[in-house]
């Protein structure tokens, strides 16, 4: 993956003489003091981050944390006081008027919290706005706009005015309007905050759906941790104008940089963030091939367990043999393949814990995590699921104990 946007030491200060305030911040003066002393507001201080092509990058923070200020630096609605922003290697802060116009028309588009729609224009006229100012002919822009109207499910609403639509519908107009310009980068400033929870959830899913199809680089602002973790490939947490940590949702949960992040993520429903591969444990030992039922039985006896998973040489899952099946097989001179049961419950490494829970509860045996090629990646026990949901303070010890005490199964390799 290539770096699409690189933010280097970006600082944005509002006020009549912003440059003069920078030394104060460097000395560690607080935002509040700077405002009282100089009348300047520190929006963003020394932000650094890299955003990858095709990634959904979430900037999260409470109100006043500078997230909206930062996102407006990406299309220069706010010009950074100092620092550089490289998009495809070009420093956009240095752009002249013409270059900036071109950049905004072609490369970047924005979706707003309160939609920012033109109330004097119909849905269609709103959506084609970006193309209109680029000077496309009416038929040309109508054709393109129509495509995006269908993408966001607004067909039939073309001639309505924004105030005739519900909040969710209006934001669809906002999204379609941004997509119509076919930008590489999509800026979304708390796009779903003004919507009610049900619609918000629906729009989040739709955004994920649109993103899988279009693969834009999305920068998404939110104050909602659950939203951030649901849609973000990576998340940056901001506080008082500083970027506190940048990482995947799992990073933030597993290794928070400071107490603020811990506090912030406390609310999160961990089962919606952690995936199977985050909580699974590696199967303890792998037995050699050509080992038949006898070895399987011996293995179970050794570990005090009642069943083993069977794989081939490539560690691809074949099935499960219980101790009863194994003994029965030995008596009747059958092979492993003949006695094992093949209806093993599995999970994909990227499945969310919350989706796995029912399967774990229903199954007598551990859940096997297998990848696309059916290779065993790990196993998940009930204890794993439980300890993953509880916050990470005592997680490490829990996990070890769990493995020692209660792993009831092992892997055996068959021919």
């Amino acid at each position: 993956m290539t770096v699409k946007i690189k933010v280097e030491n970006v600082t944005k200060i509002f006020g009549p003489r912003p440059k003069r305030v920078i030394p104060l911040i460097e000395k560690g003066t607080s935002k509040r003091e700077i405002l009282d002393k100089t009348g300047h507001t520190v929006g963003v201080y020394n932000a650094n981050m890299e955003i990858m092509e095709g990634e959904t990058f979430v900037i999260m923070g409470l109100s006043g944390s500078g997230k909206s200020t930062l996102i407006r630096c990406f299309n220069l609605l706010n010009k950074p006081t100092s620092g550089a922003i490289y998009v495809d290697g070009e420093n956009i802060v240095k752009y002249n008027k013409e270059q900036l116009k071109f950049f905004r028309q072609k490369k970047i588009a924005m979706v707003f919290q309160h939609f920012g729609l033109f109330s004097h224009r119909t849905v269609m006229e709103n959506i084609e706005y970006g193309l209109e100012i680029r000077g496309l002919s009416k038929t040309e822009r109508r054709n393109i706009a129509q495509k995006h109207i269908e993408t966001v499910g607004l067909k039939g609403y073309e001639n309505q005015y924004p105030d005739e639509l519900s909040g969710g519908m209006r934001q669809r107009v906002g999204i379609a309007r941004a997509l119509t310009n076919d930008p590489d980068i999509l800026l979304m400033d708390e796009p779903f905050s003004a919507l009610d929870p049900l619609i918000r959830r629906e729009m989040q899913l739709e955004l994920l759906d649109i993103q899988t199809r279009l693969q834009k680089t999305i920068i998404f602002i939110t104050h909602d941790v659950n939203e951030a973790f649901r849609i973000g490939d990576r998340v940056a947490v901001m506080k008082d104008g500083n970027v506190e940590q940048v990482g995947t949702p799992e990073d933030l949960l597993e290794s928070p940089a400071n107490d603020y992040i811990v506090e912030f993520t406390r609310e999160i429903d961990r089962s919606k963030v952690l995936q199977a591969e985050n909580i699974m444990s590696k199967p303890l030992s792998v037995m050699n091939s050509k080992d038949g039922l006898h070895v399987a039985i011996k293995n179970m006896e050794e570990h005090g367990i009642s069943s083993v998973f069977v794989t081939n040489r490539q560690r691809q899952l074949l099935g499960l043999v219980t101790i009863d099946q194994a003994i029965d097989g030995v008596k009747n001179r059958k092979t492993i393949d003949e006695v094992m049961s093949t209806d093993v419950v599995t999970a994909h490494p990227e499945e969310y814990v919350q989706d796995i829970i029912p399967r774990v509860l229903d199954s007598k045996y551990p859940l096997v995590v297998v990848d696309e090629t059916n290779r065993i990646k790990g196993i998940i026990l009930r204890v794993h699921v439980l300890s993953s949901i509880i916050s990470n303070t005592s997680e490490d010890s829990n996990e070890e104990n769990a493995e020692e005490q209660s792993i009831p199964t092992e892997t055996v390799v068959s021919e």
Binding site: R104, A109, Y129, N181
Partner: protein, 286 residues
């Protein structure tokens, strides 16, 4: 003891000298304005008078129906008929002509000035006291210099009317543009709109409902100047009112007066109807 010191700051004299200076040196300019203005008024007046009364009545009815409702339309048509029955038709048409040209010129000056004020805080700060003065200075006061520049008649009345009626459209144009939702401006900007595109495609249309309120105010104020304008020789209904004051002619005074009221109601309701209609289809979405 308590007397004001014997100081005289003769601002009035300076203003007078300035007016003299203008009249001496820019006579050609005022002559030019006079010719243009008086020709325009005459053209409008003649056109209105050449139009059969019932055509005008039907037009008023249709406008009233479209922008208000059918009862409004009928009421306005009845007003027009009443005015005709007072034998004040020609005077009314003259007044209408004066108002039309005053309002058109007010808008032509006022909207650009309002736009400039919205864009430049400095210009806005300078203009505000001037607008206050234009509205609060007793109207008779600027009738005096105006008659220096122009012969008595409709033209000085129009100039005075414009000075008086200009502020609302300027103020509300500025207000309308300044009040456009920040996010709407940001979104237009984020698509790479040029300044002109922003103004024409976003700011003016968004400000239009507010501007319509200003246009309505300007029109009403222009109408209220009908009588004052007649003091410098404007014809029309105002002239009738002045005449009946001199003659203590209650009957004519009332008929001319009520005709002005009728015109005011018709114009007010129709311009308001236009504003409402804009507001309805383009309510703010924020």
């Amino acid at each position: 003891m308590n007397e004001f010191p014997d100081v005289r700051i003769p601002i009035g004299d300076y203003v007078e000298k300035f007016i003299d200076f203008l009249a001496m040196n820019f006579g050609w300019l005022f002559d030019f304005i006079f010719v243009i203005a008086s020709t325009t008024i005459r053209t409008i007046e003649t056109t209105l008078l050449a139009t059969p009364w019932w055509v005008i009545m039907i037009i008023v009815f249709l406008l009233g129906w479209y922008f208000n409702n059918i009862f409004g339309g009928l009421l306005f048509a009845a007003f027009i008929f009443l005015i005709g029955s007072f034998d004040l038709w020609a005077d009314t048409m003259t007044t209408v002509a004066i108002i039309v040209i005053s309002v058109v010129l007010s808008l032509a000056i006022g909207i650009p000035v309002g736009i400039l004020m919205a864009f430049s805080r400095a210009f806005s700060v300078i203009m505000r006291p001037i607008l206050d003065a234009m509205q609060t200075m007793p109207t008779f006061v600027y009738l005096i210099p105006v008659i220096f520049f122009f012969p008595l008649g409709n033209v000085p009345a129009i100039i005075a009317t414009i000075i008086y009626a200009l502020p609302p459209v300027i103020r509300l144009t500025e207000l309308g543009i300044r009040n456009v939702d920040d996010e709407v401006i940001e979104s237009a900007e984020s698509f790479g709109s040029s300044r002109n595109q922003m103004l024409v495609k976003v700011q003016l249309p968004q400000a239009l409902p507010t501007m319509m309120a200003g246009i309505n105010q300007t029109t009403m104020m222009a109408l209220s100047m009908a009588v004052v304008g007649s003091m410098v020789g404007a014809h029309g209904l105002g002239e009738r009112v002045l005449y009946s004051i001199n003659q203590i002619n209650i009957s004519l005074g009332f008929e001319a007066g009520i005709s002005i009221v009728f015109l005011a109601i018709i114009i007010d309701r129709i311009t308001n109807g236009v504003a409402d209609r804009l507001q309805n289809t383009r309510r703010r979405s924020a």
